[in-house]
C-alpha cells in the first residue's frame, strides 16, 4: 500500500524485513494472542484524498452558521486575532515539536513559554505563572486543589454567580477528594455579600474562597472589600478573571489574591467551538512548589550563556507519580505561545485600549438597550457583559434576531432554568458604533 502519509512502500517493506531476517510482516505479530486479534477490516469509511477531504469538510463547515454580529459570551469571547499570530504560531518548528524535554534543541519554545509566564505573572500580579493548563475551568479546579492541600482544610466557598460551566468542572474535579464546595448565597446585586461571606468564613474552616470578576453576569466583584475579609480568616483568595479586563483593572494579585486563574482564549485564540483554549494560572511565592503543570526557568548553559529549561519537575507526574501536584502532562503550549505573541503585539497600550473599548462598547449598548425599554437584571457595575430582562422568554428574541444575522447573547435559562426571561449580552472590542446601534434597532423591532 502507498499513501502520502506513509513513509514506506512495498519494496522497502520487503527489503527491511529481509534485512532483519524475516520473511513476512506477520512474523512480527505472533506475540499478539490470536484470540484477541481483529479478524476483519476496520469498519470505517473509505479513505479520501486531499481533494475529497477538502470538498467534504467544506460541506460540513457549511452546517455551521457564524452570525454576522454575535453578542454571545458567557465564558468564550469574540476578540480580534491579529494576523501575525497565525504566521508565527504556524511555524512548524513550534507546532510539530513535542514538550521541550531536550532544552538544547528547544530553546525557542522554552523562551517563548518563559515570556508567556512573565506576561501572565505581570497581568495577574503574582510572581509564579505556569506554562498553561487545559482551560480556565480546569485551572480553577487545580487552584482549589492547591489551596486545599496547602491549608489542609476541605471547605471551599464559591460564589453564586460563578460561571456555571466552570462550576460543573470544579465539582467534577473535586468530587472524590473530600473537598466540600459551598456556594455562597445569591444576592440582589449578583455580587458576593461581604457579610454573608464573613458568616461562612467565621468558623475558620474554609480553605479558600473563589471570586470570579467579572462574574458570570458580567458584574465586577468588589475585590478591595472582599479579599481582606478572606485573608482575615486565613482562607486563600482565588480569583478567576477575563485577562483582557486587566488592561484597565488592577491585577488581582496586587489586590491580595493569592491564586489567579482565567480563561486565556481571549488572548489570540480562535473560538473554535470551545477548544483548544488556555488555562491561565499564577500563584503567590508560597505556592511555587505546589503549582500544577510545567514551569520554565532561566538558567545558563555550560558556557555560561543564558538558556531556558523546564524546571522544578519534581512536582510533576513523570517524576512524582501519584504524589505529583497534578496529573497534567501535555498542556496547551501552542495556545500559550499564541497568548505570548498576542501580548507582545498589544503591549500595555493595546491591552488598555481594548479593555477601555470593551467597557465603552458594553456600556453604550447597555444604555441603548435601556432606551428601547429593556431592564437590567442587576444594578451592579459591569465590564463588558451584562444581563437584561426580556418581556418574553429570551429564546424568542434570540430566534428573531438570528434571522437578521444577529446572535443576541446567551439565554440564561440554559444555565439557570428559573431565569426564563433573561439575556446575557456581551460587547467586546470588535464592534463599531453602527453595529451596536443596529443591534438596538433590531431588538426594538421585535420587542
Amino acid at each position: 500500500m502507498n499513501h502520502p502519509y506513509l513513509a514506506l512502500n512495498d519494496d522497502e517493506r520487503r527489503e527491511m524485513l529481509n534485512k532483519i531476517g524475516l520473511n513476512q510482516i506477520d512474523e512480527l505479530f505472533t506475540h499478539i494472542p490470536e484470540a484477541v486479534r481483529l479478524q476483519r477490516p476496520l469498519n470505517l469509511p473509505e479513505s479520501m484524498t486531499e481533494m475529497e477531504l477538502k470538498n467534504y469538510f467544506h460541506l460540513q463547515a457549511g452546517g455551521n452558521n457564524v452570525a454576522g454580529l454575535s453578542f454571545l459570551g458567557a465564558g468564550a469571547y469574540h476578540h480580534y486575532i491579529p494576523a501575525v499570530i497565525e504566521h508565527l504560531a504556524g511555524r512548524s518548528e513550534f507546532y510539530t515539536a513535542y514538550t521541550p524535554y531536550q532544552p538544547e534543541l528547544s530553546q525557542g519554545a522554552l523562551q517563548a513559554i518563559f515570556e508567556y509566564q512573565t506576561y501572565i505573572s505581570e497581568l495577574f500580579g503574582l510572581p509564579v505563572a505556569n506554562a498553561s493548563l487545559y482551560d480556565g475551568s480546569t485551572a480553577l479546579a487545580e487552584a482549589i486543589i492547591i489551596a486545599v492541600r496547602e491549608t489542609k482544610k476541605q471547605r471551599v466557598l464559591i460564589p453564586a454567580a460563578l460561571n456555571p460551566f466552570t462550576e460543573r468542572v470544579i465539582r467534577t474535579y473535586t468530587q472524590n477528594l473530600g473537598i466540600q464546595l459551598v456556594a455562597l448565597p445569591e444576592t440582589d446585586t449578583a455580587q458576593i455579600d461581604p457579610e454573608k461571606l464573613t458568616l461562612e468564613l467565621k468558623a475558620g474552616t474554609a480553605a479558600a474562597v473563589v471570586i470570579q470578576s467579572p462574574n458570570f453576569f458580567g458584574i465586577l466583584e468588589n475585590l478591595p472589600l472582599v479579599i481582606p475579609i478572606i485573608k482575615k480568616y486565613d482562607a486563600v483568595p482565588i480569583c478567576s478573571v477575563h485577562p483582557l479586563t486587566l488592561g484597565l483593572l488592577e491585577s488581582p494579585g496586587r489586590q491580595g489574591a493569592e491564586i489567579v486563574v482565567g480563561e486565556g482564549q481571549p488572548l489570540g485564540i480562535p473560538l473554535s467551538y470551545g477548544g483548544p483554549y488556555l488555562g491561565l494560572m499564577a500563584v503567590a511565592e508560597r505556592f511555587m512548589r505546589k503549582i500544577p503543570g510545567r514551569l520554565v526557568g532561566e538558567t545558563t548553559d555550560k558556557n555560561g550563556k543564558r538558556a531556558f529549561v523546564l524546571t522544578l519537575q519534581t512536582r510533576e507526574q513523570h517524576i512524582r507519580r501519584e504524589k505529583a501536584t497534578s496529573n497534567i502532562c501535555s498542556n496547551q503550549a501552542l495556545c500559550a505561545l499564541r497568548a505570548a505573541i498576542y501580548c507582545s503585539l498589544m503591549g500595555p497600550q493595546g491591552l488598555r485600549d481594548i479593555a477601555r473599548r470593551m467597557y465603552n462598547n458594553a456600556h453604550y449598548l447597555f444604555a441603548k438597550l435601556r432606551e428601547i425599554g429593556l431592564e437590567p437584571m442587576y444594578n451592579s457595575p459591569f465590564f463588558m457583559e451584562f444581563a437584561m430582562k426580556t418581556p418574553q422568554p429570551a429564546d424568542y428574541y434570540l430566534k428573531k434576531l438570528l434571522s437578521k444575522g444577529i446572535l443576541a447573547g446567551y439565554d440564561l435559562s440554559r444555565a439557570h432554568p428559573y431565569m426564563q426571561n433573561s439575556l446575557l449580552i456581551c460587547a467586546t472590542e470588535v464592534f463599531a458604533r453602527e453595529q451596536l446601534d443596529a443591534f438596538a434597532v433590531e431588538m426594538r423591532c421585535v420587542l
Binding site: 455551521n64 477548544g275 507519580r321 501535555s330 500595555p348
Partner: protein, 487 residues
C-alpha cells in the same frame, strides 16, 4: 539559520511608545469610569509589557522558532510520544472560518457542522477501539485518564461498592496513570513487572481483591511489548469485580490489529495527538477521548450528543454523569484534525500505519542490538527500549546530547523508570528507511566514539544554539519570569 540573536527576551527589546497593533478609532461616546474609580478597581501602574513594532514581534518569534526542532525539521524518535508527520491539510482545515469562528454556545441549529464532527469521530474511534461509547471532552491523555477514573468511581459508587478504593498500576506505567488515579481519589497500588515490562502475573494475582477498582494497563507497554497474557489478566481482574482500563496513548501500535474492547477492556483513553497525527504544539494542545463499554455509558461526562429529527444537539440530562471535565466540549480543532486523518487513511490505511510503525521499530531494534542492550529483547510493537550504558561511563544523557549534534531529536531517556539508562525509541510509520538507516549509522558512530573519544560525548552538544543546559541551577534558584532590572 546561523545564530543570529543572542537570546534576548522580547521584554528587553522594548522601546517606549511603540505599538505593533492599533485599535480602530471608535465613534462610541466615551463612557464614564466613575464606578470603577469609586470602587478603586483601576490599575495603578502601567503593565510592564514590551512596546515594540509588528516587525519586532515577527523577527523575535521567527528567530525563536529557528532555535527549536520539530518533526518537520527532522527525525524525532521520542518514545511514548508518537512523533509522526502532521498532515498540512489538517492545519488549514481548522482555519475554515465556520469552524474557527463558531462560538461553543451558539444554538445547535447554527452549529450542526461542528456537532457532526463530534458524532462521526465518536463513531470511528469506537470502532477503532472496540468500545461502545466515547466522550471527546478530555483535553489530553492525562485528562482522559482522570475522566475514566472518575467514571470508575461513579460506577462503583452507583453500585454501592464504595470499598473499591484502589487502583493497580504497573511499575512500567506512564507517570500520568498513578497521578490521575490519585486525582480521582484512589489509592495507588504498584504491580511489579518482569524485564519485558510485562505484568508480574503472580504479583497481580496477590493484589486483586474486593478493594480494587481497576487495573490500568498500557498495552503495548512502555517497553513496546505486547501483554501476551492479556486474556489471563482480563479474567483475573474481572473475576474480582474490578474494571480493566486501557491506556491507549500508544494506540499507534495496534490499529486494525487488535482492539482494547476485544481484549476485554472496559475503558480506554486515546491520545489523538499521538496516534491520530494532530501536532504536539511544543507540548499541547492534545485531545484525550475516552471510550467505555455500554454499562458505563451513563457515567460519561455531560453533555453527550443526541440526534433527533436530523438535529444533533447536546444533552445535559444525564443524572449519573460524572459532570463536566472541560469548560466546553473538548479541543474541537484537534478533534477535527484527527477526524480528517482517519478519513484520509481509512481502515486499511490505519492498519497499514500500525503495521509500518511496528516494522520500523523492529527494524531499528534488530539493527541496533549488536551495539546496544535491548531492555525487552523480544519482538516489539511500535517502540522499544535500549540500555545506553557505554564504555567510559557514557550514559543515556550523553548519547542523547550527541544525537542533537546530528540534528536528530533524541529518544525518550530515563523512562520507563524500570530500565536503567533507558532510551525509548519510537520511529513511527512516517519515517522512511533512509532516515532509519542514518539513525542507525549515527548510533553506531556514537558507540564507537564512546570507546575511542568519549569526551566528544560528554561535551556534546556542540552544534546547538546553547550547550548543555544547567538544570540544577534552574531548580536551585528558580527564575520563572523576567523582571525589569532594578537599580
Amino acid at each position: 539559520m546561523t545564530e543570529k540573536i543572542s537570546p534576548q527576551l522580547i521584554f528587553e527589546k522594548s522601546g517606549a511608545q511603540k505599538q505593533a497593533w492599533l485599535l480602530p478609532p471608535s465613534s462610541v461616546p466615551v463612557q464614564s469610569f466613575t464606578e470603577l474609580t469609586a470602587l478603586n478597581l483601576l490599575r495603578k501602574e502601567v503593565l510592564n509589557f514590551p512596546e515594540v513594532t509588528e516587525s519586532d514581534v515577527v523577527r523575535h518569534y521567527t528567530n525563536l522558532s529557528t532555535r527549536n526542532h520539530g518533526v518537520d525539521s527532522g527525525f524525532y524518535p521520542l518514545g511514548s510520544c508518537t512523533m509522526k508527520y502532521n498532515p498540512k491539510f489538517n492545519e488549514d482545515l481548522v482555519k475554515i472560518p465556520s469552524f474557527s469562528e463558531i462560538h461553543p454556545l451558539a444554538p445547535p441549529e447554527q452549529s450542526q457542522g461542528s456537532l457532526r464532527i463530534f458524532k462521526d469521530l465518536e463513531q470511528y474511534l469506537a470502532e477503532i477501539t472496540g468500545m461502545d461509547h466515547m466522550t471527546l471532552q478530555p483535553a489530553a491523555g492525562a485528562h482522559g485518564e482522570l475522566t475514566a477514573l472518575l467514571i470508575i468511581q461513579a460506577y462503583f459508587r452507583d453500585k454501592g461498592e464504595t470499598n473499591r478504593t484502589k487502583i493497580l498500576v504497573p511499575t512500567s506505567a506512564h507517570g500520568t496513570n498513578p497521578a490521575s488515579a490519585a486525582m480521582a481519589g484512589f489509592e495507588i497500588i504498584t504491580v511489579t513487572c518482569n524485564s519485558n515490562g510485562l505484568v508480574d502475573l503472580e504479583h497481580l494475582q496477590n493484589l486483586v481483591n474486593q478493594d480494587v477498582a481497576a487495573l490500568m494497563l498500557t498495552n503495548p507497554n512502555t517497553l513496546g511489548s505486547f501483554e501476551r497474557e492479556i486474556t489471563t489478566i482480563e479474567k483475573l481482574v474481572h473475576s474480582c469485580g474490578a474494571l480493566l482500563y486501557y491506556d491507549g496513548a500508544n494506540l499507534n501500535a495496534i490499529m486494525g490489529l487488535v482492539r482494547p474492547g476485544d481484549m476485554g477492556f472496559d475503558l480506554v483513553h486515546l491520545n489523538l495527538h499521538k496516534t491520530f497525527a494532530t501536532p504536539h504544539g511544543s507540548g499541547g494542545p492534545g485531545a484525550g477521548p475516552v471510550g467505555v463499554k455500554s454499562f458505563l455509558n451513563q457515567f460519561l461526562p455531560v453533555p453527550v450528543l443526541t440526534e433527533t429529527e436530523q438535529l444533533l444537539s447536546w444533552n445535559y440530562d444525564r443524572p449519573k454523569s460524572i459532570g463536566k471535565i472541560s469548560g466546553f466540549y473538548g479541543n474541537f480543532a484537534v478533534l477535527l484534525k484527527a477526524l480528517s486523518y482517519i478519513k484520509a487513511l481509512g481502515g486499511p490505511g490505519l492498519t497499514q500505519a500500525s503495521r509500518d510503525a511496528i516494522l520500523n521499530a523492529n527494524y531499528l531494534r534488530i539493527r541496533l542490538q549488536e551495539y546496544y542492550e535491548i531492555a525487552a529483547p523480544d519482538t516489539c510493537m511500535h517502540e522499544f527500549v535500549l540500555k545506553a550504558k557505554l564504555p567510559n561511563h557514557i550514559r543515556a544523557i550523553d548519547v542523547a546530547k550527541r544525537l542533537l549534534d546530528f540534528g536528530i531529536h533524541p529518544p525518550t531517556i530515563y523512562f520507563p523508570l524500570i530500565v536503567p539508562e533507558a532510551m525509548m525509541i519510537e520511529p513511527t510509520e512516517t519515517e522512511n528507511r533512509f532516515t532509519l538507516d542514518s539513525f542507525v549509522a549515527r548510533m553506531i558512530q556514537i558507540y564507537t566514539e564512546a570507546a575511542e573519544s568519549p569526551e566528544i560525548l560528554s561535551t556534546a552538544p556542540q552544534n546547538t544554539p546553547v550547550a548543555r543546559v544547567d538544570e540544577t541551577e534552574a531548580a536551585r534558584s528558580p527564575r520563572l519570569r523576567w523582571s525589569p532590572v532594578q537599580d
